[in-house]
Amino acid sequence: MNISVQYFAVFREQAGRDTEDLTTSAATAGELFAEISTRHGFADSVERCKVAINDELASWTTSLSDGDVVLFFPPVAGG
């Protein structure tokens, strides 16, 4: 299935890009994150990161669908 991924803050810098189109067999957002973390060397654990799918916050167990836009957020640090 084809997924479009967007990276923010430190993830964008580690991935060296802000978006990426890819083909994956990952069934959930968490599986896709694991796949991408390995490839780009993301150091943050999944528990402290967040994911949004099609501009809505989602959970790591959310199933992916063809054409989804998946946003990976490193640990937040507002304030």
Binding site: F8, A9, E13, A52, E56, P75, V76, A77, G78
Partner: protein
């Protein structure tokens, strides 16, 4: 709209006027400022980045929770993004209530939840060199953030 992400300077006096209410006997506000140090490092500036749409929606949700949980009349919040200098106001939260207890509690709740949940990131620029993304959990730089130290 009770919560917003802005690129403009925050004016606390103007913001506070939004809390006016004839039944209010208390007003609690919080301002988060850019300070010149973190974890022993001299900081020269901060750069904030947000996913504006999701940050605004999550901020609205937090304000809504505060209005439900505490006996308050009005609650507002704003977070600035972009390049901020020492002393600049990065975040402002304000609450009005009939009594001070609820005002303090709601204000504290909102800022604590904002820091935990809203997709905003902070990059520190150091007086003596490069920069690093800050990790809210540890207060320190995210490992491998690419900032040579």
């Amino acid at each position: 709209m009770s919560f917003e992400i802005t690129e403009d300077a925050i004016d606390p006096v103007a913001r506070k006027a939004e809390l006016d209410h004839d039944s209010a006997g208390a007003c609690a506000t919080f301002e988060g400022w850019v300070r010149d140090h973190n974890e022993g490092e001299a900081v020269s500036a901060l750069e904030y980045e947000a996913h504006a749409a999701i940050a605004s929606a999550e901020g609205e949700r937090i304000i809504g929770e505060a209005l439900e949980r505490f006996d308050v009349l009005e609650a507002r919040g704003v977070h600035r993004v972009g390049y901020l200098e020492i002393g600049d106001c990065a975040v402002w939260v304000g609450v009005s209530a009939a009594h001070r207890g609820a005002a303090f509690d709601a204000c504290r709740y909102i800022i604590d939840e904002l820091k935990q949940r809203v997709p905003i990131w902070k990059k520190e620029h150091y007086a003596d060199g490069p920069s690093g993304w800050i990790n809210a959990v540890t207060g320190k730089e995210t490992p491998d953030s690419g900032a040579p130290r």
